[in-house]
Amino acid sequence: MRITSPHAHGPMSTPRVMLNVLLATVPGIVVMTHFFGFGTLVNILWGGLVAVACEALALKLRGRPLGFYLKDYSALVTATLLCIALPPYSPWWLIAVGIASAILLAKHLYGGLGYNPFNPAMAGYVILLISFPVQMTAWAPPRGVGELPGLLEALQACFTPAAFDGVTMATPLDVMKQNNSLLVKDLWQQNPQFGRWAGVGWEWANLAFLAGGAWLLYKRIFTWHAPVAMLAALTLMAALFNDGGSSASGGSPLFHLLSGATMFGAFFIVTDPVTSAVSVRGRLVYGAMIGALVYIIRVRGNYPDAVAFAVLIMNFAAPFIDYYTQPRTYGHQRSGGGE
């Protein structure tokens, strides 16, 4: 047996990276379940099943060993991330279509794990958002604002959607977007879904995802560059265009930081290594551009939330960013990079 150096290997492994990511979503999921009921959990359970089935099917068609590749848990991560992003109480077929698009189209058609240019979860999300806008924008009212369905009802909502009679309500980002006459202060008073800093439930869910992300940073699963750059750019944009709360205001920086998928995106989507830029400088640019795009699309675009679109657009740009941000190698002169 001839083995070349290095003979030793560090403790990190890809399945461990994936499990860490899964674990880090737990606080966010708990908070979401607390505020929006069992919908998200049912999403994840059903989505996970579909994802493993799709992954197995794709691997079988591609002639890859099933056990070896299923054990990397990447399909479960994709499913979990997509199902967190989907509205709770989504019907089973919506989830299945989204997962199948993510795993089969966005991931395996491009060559499987590591070869996909686009974040599979976000690709699946955008396919659903464009194809089924009604279902995709139907969010349940948070605890304290509306009635929360029980576990049984949640299962019913998923598997027999026709029999489920759920209440839906516009999300705070939606309300903010549609507003064209009220001062932000009045808006806050007239709509029950606004909480202390942002939306009821949303603000806590965002903080929980921030906590999960911080834990991943501590575990050195990814570096701080892309998420911090994204949050900083979003804050900067919101601060620049926050006119003090007029009817034309885009919302305060705090509102944007704690609304929608901001923290979830920053720590679980933007940090996806496969589809992001690779160098330190590259990740700073990549994250900052996503942050800026999120604000622009939220305030000026057609959709209330924008993380998915911003991420996909920057996925396109990642190779380009890589080309211009190659780091200076030891012993080389500082140069513009690229050339």
């Binding site: 290095p6 003979h7 990190m12 990397d72 290594p273 890589d322 780091p327 030891y330 012993g331």
Partner: protein
Amino acid sequence: MRKIYGFHGGIHPPENKHQSLRSPIADAGIPPELVIPLSQHIGAPSRAVVAVGDRVLKGQMIAEPSGFVSVPVHAPTSGTIAAVEDRQIAHPSGHAAPCIVIASDGRDQWIEHGGKADYTSLDKAELLERIRNAGIAGMGGAGFPAAVKLSVKPDIKIETLIINGTECEPYITADDVLMRERAGEIIEGTNILRHIVQPHETLIGIEDNKPEALAAMRAAAEGSDIDIVEFPTKYPSGGEKQLIEILTGKQVPSGGLPADVGVICQNVGSAVAIRDAVVDGRPLISRITTVTGEGVAQPQNFEVLLGTSMHYLLDKAGYSAEKNRRLIMGGPMMGFTVPSPDVPIVKTTNCLLAPAESELPTPPPAQACIRCGMCAEACPVTLLPQQMFWFAQGKEFEKLELHNLFDCIECGACSWVCPSNIPLVQYYRASKAEILQLRRDTEKSEHSRIRFEARQERLAKEEAEKEAKRAARKKAAEERAQQAATAGGDEDPIQAAIERAKAKKAAQQAGGGEVSELEKLEKAVATTRKRLETATGKLETAKAEGSDLVEALQTGVDKTKAKLEAAEKALHDYQQANSGEQAKPAAPTDAAQAAIEKAMAARAADASLSPEDKARGQLEKLRQRLEKSRTKLAESRENGDEEKIIEALEATVERLSQKVAEAEKQLQETEGA
């Protein structure tokens, strides 16, 4: 407190150094047989200066350097030269290389030797000569001759002399124990180096995981200008370029040498070897080697004679082969698997690592790269390993070079951190080798192109000259004809030519024949001799340069020699025959005449044939030749002739087959027309 600069990336693998630090340096003793490779360093291999059966004394030079970047080799103990032959050496490929084998007599009898305690009375050149003559080559692992490293150009000013006591590889403790036990000698060696290099400052860099070594070195350096610098442990701090960056903040330019930024680096082991060489006159014949891993019962450091078999040394530490899956020379990060434990310890063997399978498990199959970037974070030279992996897989060599593949120091940090177990550094090593091979090939084909073009040019020039001569002759003939026509009127120019030829022949037969024949033979001898001289000259230069043309040239010289002998013999025979009796002058002329006539007849016959018949005849001839070549090849194969001959014959057969095919095609065309 000195500023510590640090470097990008790096990793913290488990150190595993304590195992071999429980006991002091032990003497490995004198094995019955020592196998000393002639190439233990970077550069040209040494040349053996002893023969089988010679008795040698400890410290006696047994091989001399064969170039500037080369070092001599000395007998590690007294004994008899048992063999000078190829033996398997410690090299990843497991190949055999020239070695001198000494059967030791156990007396360990030193050759007369002496040093100079007051080294300051020696000048730089003398000191370098002593270091070179002692055979000292980088003890840190790379094996670069110390004297070459110290011979910087006089216009380069060395600011900083760095003595490397970092030893960042896990498991290895050879430098650590050396610093603990022989700190005084290291400082003495460092002072000799300072005397040679005359630096502004002298730094000894030691990682903070060696507190005992640090304390010993600090005590030994007390009161001197030598600065012992402690810095945080991180792999690969001991890499020359990394250590220079940590201590000075300077980066050695890509493709450059530390001297370019005013730094010279030497290992602590080299410092001791230099001290021994200068002060005691003791050449490099032993070194400290760590023997460790769960495959040995008592991991520890040994002072071991160079040439000792690894097996002998492992047994001293209680080696159990069944516990050990692979034997590694060097550390777990950059060491290589040795082909067999019977290979010898050399100047660069700082560690023998015999791990159990559970200790350094066989790597699991690689998973997909998820571009997590942990490799880029770990890379000490700030490369983008994940990108380079992508390019290496696609063999995109240009992009690899753009991503500075050749700045990779192959420390293995990227492979170590990779969560997908991708053998990254292995990919880079393979790509480097492939690129270098491609470069060599391009160079070769460029050479051939230039040679070919020069030949084409020469041929064209010759053809042009011939053409010009032909034209001149034609013109002259026309003029003569015209002159004849105007002057003689009815005289036939053809008739005149015939008569001229006849006259010439008559003159030849009348006695000019011998003279010209003799001249011809003499001329042949002279030209052949001249050719032999040039060929021999060429051969000599080729040999001196070690060119791979030597064999071809040798055959050329041999052939020319044979020709010269033949020519001389012919001349001699002719002279004998002519001096005895002038009887046979006609014979050679006649033979020549016959040959001429035969050729003319053949041509005439040819001319009378139709082009079709001609082609057919040619084809037939070619077929015959091909048949002959095939038989020869078959014979050659049966006889088991040299590969070269068989290859040449194969080439001939192929060429002839091609020609036959062409001729057949031509024939078809002619018939078709």
